[in-house]
């Protein structure tokens, strides 16, 4: 694999809660290569949102804290960069496609206003009010920006972009709003897109449109993408590699087809077995719930729910092992000498 554009190394994040320190992220490693779409899959409470927030630098720091690790973007550690440098990256090199489009757009601004500010002043940490209004009056600059914006709206297949510019978010359908969010994320010519469940709130036919669009865009522009979701099927469609996350740990990683056709980790196979399938075979679910992050078990975090659990799993944490080429699992079942 080529040098990764985004590399999360040994990241550990905790939260100070009423009951104690909740060790939410437990030393995870994650890489996104150039021109690659990587999926991060997990259910509610597994820590994928916290991971995303840490990468973006928007983790609320008083209750939360990064206790270990680095997040390298093209070699620079995002966790230690000064704010000025971070601002230059956000929106430009690293871009977010948020969840729930109708909530992520500011309801009191038209589409045009939301875009203009971004295009004209992106990357700057602080603007004085005078300069801000001066820029707005600069007709030539505004026109230039508008041209750019309309071109981008066409790229995300919005029909009649000139009219859409004057719409308020409440006038947009879910699909259109999501396209606008994608356009917003692309306008800074980023190198990597961080997609936070962008199709969860959408109808399934619209979801298909958006996924096809995202695939096309990432391929055409050689973009990398980290796609965070709980939907396994969508991951299969859009990602090349996938990380399966459970209770703050990465439990399995590999090529998307391999993982889903031959899952190795008991959690992954449990997840896949839980899905109702078109073949109408039985589906099972997984007993139990996610562990308490404050009183984390010493060994494998999946131990209480695992049907293959052995005594050793309770006390010793499994390490990530390459079981097949580029297919990694963190499970005692695959440690040499066991089974």
């Amino acid at each position: 694999m080529t040098f990764p554009i985004l590399s999360v190394k040994n990241l550990a994040v905790s939260f100070n809660t009423f009951e104690g320190e909740a060790k939410i992220i437990d030393y995870i490693n994650l890489d996104v290569g150039e021109k690659e779409t990587v999926g991060l899959v997990g259910e509610t409470g597994c820590g994928k949102s916290v991971t995303l927030k840490t990468i973006l630098g928007i983790l609320p720091i008083p209750p939360g804290k990064v206790t270990n690790g680095q997040i390298l973007f093209r070699g620079k550690n995002l966790l230690t960069l000064p704010t000025k440098e971070l601002c230059k990256l956000h929106g430009r090199e690293i871009s977010l496609i948020p969840q729930d489009p109708l909530v992520s757009l500011n309801p009191v601004f038209t589409v045009k206003d939301q875009f203009l500010d971004l295009v004209m002043r992106q990357g700057e940490e602080h603007i004085s009010r005078i300069n801000y209004y001066k820029e707005k009056l600069n007709k030539k600059k505004v026109q230039g920006s508008l041209k750019k914006i309309i071109a981008m709206l066409r790229k995300v297949q919005i029909p009649d972009p000139e009219r859409v510019l004057d719409y308020y978010p409440y006038q947009l359908s879910g699909g259109m709003a999501q396209r606008i969010l994608i356009a917003i994320s692309l306008i800074g010519s980023p190198r990597i897109l961080l997609a936070d469940e962008p199709t969860t709130a959408l109808d399934v036919t619209v979801q298909k449109q958006i996924i096809t669009l995202l695939k096309k865009i990432t391929e055409d522009s050689n973009l990398s993408m980290l796609y965070i979701t709980h939907n396994l099927g969508v991951t299969r469609k859009i990602a090349q590699r996938v990380y399966i996350m459970y209770a703050g740990q990465i439990v399995e990683m590999g090529k998307v087809n391999e993982i889903f056709d031959e899952p190795l980790h008991p959690y992954t196979s449990g997840l896949i077995n839980s899905l109702p399938k078109l073949t109408r075979e039985k589906f099972d679910g997984i007993d139990g719930t996610i562990p308490d992050y404050v009183h984390t078990p010493k060994g494998c975090r999946f131990y209480p729910r695992c049907s293959f659990a052995k005594d050793l799993c309770k006390s010793q944490k499994p390490t990530m092992i390459e079981v097949k080429k580029n297919h990694f699992v963190a499970c005692r079942l695959f440690h040499k000498g066991s089974k």
Partner: protein
């Protein structure tokens, strides 16, 4: 052998008026449900599938009397209940129940679990206080929640799956004939969803229930239902047995819907019809497209589709679909 269906919807129309202006003049109507007919036989699971604005939630609410139909009839156990209200409607509540889409909001946050479930018995005055408590215990065990731990908890202390089980216990304690599920597992994680769905299947057998299962998730509906109805923008476009609909979808929308399912396994990928994504967006129910409401997005649209509503065509005994392109295939069915 003609068996009277448990529920029979005939030509149901539900329009909501839109009022605007100082004098609240009616400026238009939301045509939420337009001329929908289907029936549900006793003991079966009927799945109703559709996306936003399809009208499926409105149908659920109309059956249960939360919303009044504009036109049409709803026959339940031999009576037309479409205009029941007040005391007659209240009597019906012990025979049909609903599980809401947003379970968290459907549980009164200031009541403990025991209260939440017991209230059903209080309202219908079934049993002495001790008997009521024991019955609640029994129901909690049926939904796999040990009463000792859950009796005195508030909803805020429960997980999504647990809340869903409470709602199910509450609905079933009255031993209804029909249970309507409005997106019962959409807010749940996959691993929890599977358990709830299996529980529902188990309870159906145990209590001899009939289900109307509403969801936008076609894989779930295909697995849970015996027969499925597909809705688009307020109209029913196809009805048939689950396996039939899966292997032989006749309506272009049904085909698009199936092909959009995000499947995980290789085998399922081969089962999907290979069609490109639908163009456009779901239209508005206020000004729906003329003729066949799906025509603006359909790849096979012909002249007729834009002005004439298609008739129903019968494909086999249980399978019907409504599309102009099916003409010449089989008998006209109305």
């Amino acid at each position: 052998m003609l068996e009277v269906p448990l529920l029979n919807i005939r030509n149901l129309k539900v329009y909501f008026p839109i009022h605007q202006g100082l004098f609240r003049k009616e400026v238009g109507k939301v045509r939420a449900v337009d001329n929908v007919s289907f029936d549900i036989k006793r003991g079966e699971v009927f799945g109703l599938v559709g996306e936003t604005a399809s009208g499926k939630t409105t149908i659920a609410k109309t059956i249960l009397g939360v919303v009044q139909p504009t036109l049409g009839e709803i026959w339940f156990k031999g009576e037309d209940i479409s205009h029941f209200n007040g005391q007659r409607r209240r009597k019906l509540t012990s025979k049909m129940q609903m599980i809401h889409q947003d379970t968290s909001s459907s549980l009164n946050p200031r009541k403990k679990v025991m209260e939440l479930i017991k209230v059903a018995l209080d309202i219908h005055q079934i049993g002495t206080p001790m008997e009521k408590q024991n019955e609640v215990s029994r129901m909690l065990r049926y939904v796999q929640l040990p009463p000792e731990n859950f009796f005195y908890k508030y909803p805020a202390a429960l997980s999504g799956g647990q809340k869903q089980r409470i709602a199910i216990a509450r609905a079933l304690i009255l031993k209804p004939d029909l249970v309507v599920f409005d997106e019962p597992t959409s807010a749940l994680d996959v691993s929890v969803q599977a358990k709830i769905l299996n529980l529902l299947t188990k309870l159906k057998k145990e209590f001899n229930l009939t289900y109307l299962f509403i969801s936008h998730d076609l894989s779930v509906v295909l697995n849970m239902s015996d027969r499925i109805g597909v809705m688009y923008l307020g109209e029913l476009v196809e009805v048939g047995g689950s396996q039939d609909i899966l292997t032989n979808p006749m309506h272009p929308y049904t085909q698009a819907l199936i092909s959009a399912i995000p499947v995980v396994s290789k085998k399922e990928l081969t089962m999907l019809p290979k069609i490109p994504p639908l163009k456009g967006e779901i239209g508005s129910a206020i000004n729906p497209p003329t003729g066949c409401r799906f025509h603006p997005r359909c790849s096979y649209t012909i002249e007729r589709c834009t002005c004439e509503k298609p008739n129903w065509f019968q494909i086999n005994e249980k399978h019907i679909a409504r599309c102009h392109l099916l003409k010449g295939k089989n008998i006209n069915f109305k």
